[in-house]
Symmetry: C2
Subunit: 173 residues, 2 copies
């Protein structure tokens, strides 16, 4: 049995889609995930829109409405039967994200008990055997097995094992 | 430089006093901290009051109004200059505690940056050199140096180093 730490944004919850949706609503332009290859929306929009995009996660409700990433629920529920799954999410930067993420987990991942939920800032605090995350700044400092979950902004990472969608998880555990 | 993990309730924030205050308001009886020696309020009130006492932490605002434990602010601010202080608090059991604790830290401990704040359930997830906590179920599973912070319910613990008020901290670090 492994202790598997799983990130939320762009691993369980489709934060990227929320950015694209909000941007389209505000500016009438639809970027695609393909256009984000290796970067984030705030880096490719016209400079005068950047500040507004960076403020999206500060909005109340931003993290509450996120779509569930394809197959994440079914696969994580299955993993959770054989391993000790902890949800480890950065949620201290944006005031409303705490409540929004709490509600989101209650709605979509109620099978993860409250004892296995962690909201933090710096993930170097988290101890486990495996970390599944979308960001180099988390993966690179993790002492255990670091697995990158494919998201548009991390397609160029080469230094980690890669989980390319949740159906791939059976190759790992 | 040590990574020092510090619990909130009954270490930084006087949750015990909040229990005693609410109980007095509801039932007109003032218990003292001395009467709680080795136990908690819910264990010594008349059985018919127990359920109400156990529900106090579920109330919105319970964790927001807690008095700051004597000298904790000054001593932790000083420790934070020489060490890496993380606040590690159980905040997943009670829905409103997330927001209340976030606000409480912002008000009283704004010098602890958001990256050094952790709200969790099971503290075995937390990695550090030192844990200062009031509960055996956290201290006993910690891999580093476990220090009990004196609170009425833990006066009988003998298996840990003991921090008997924050002014004692200079003996430890």
């Amino acid at each position: 049995m492994l202790r598997i730490l799983i990130d939320m944004d762009d691993v369980m919850a489709d934060a990227t889609k929320q950015f694209l949706d909000l941007y389209e609503r505000d500016f009438g332009i639809r970027y695609t995930k393909e256009q984000l290859h290796g970067t984030k929306l705030s880096a490719i929009v016209p400079p005068e829109h950047k500040q507004k995009v960076l403020m999206y996660p500060h909005r109340k409700g931003f993290f509450k409405d996120l779509p569930v990433i394809e197959n994440s629920k079914e696969v994580i529920e299955e993993l959770n039967k054989r391993h000790e799954v902890f949800i480890v999410s950065a949620a201290m930067e944006f005031k409303h994200s705490l409540y929004d993420k709490f509600e989101w987990l209650a709605e979509h991942f109620s099978f993860i008990p409250w004892k296995r939920r962690v909201f933090c800032g710096d993930k170097t605090i988290a101890k486990g055997d495996v970390l599944i995350d979308d960001h180099d700044f988390n993966l690179s400092l993790f002492a255990g097995r670091a697995i990158v979950f494919t998201a548009p902004h991390n397609v160029h990472y080469t230094e980690y094992e890669r989980l390319d969608g949740w159906l791939d998880a059976h190759h790992f555990f």
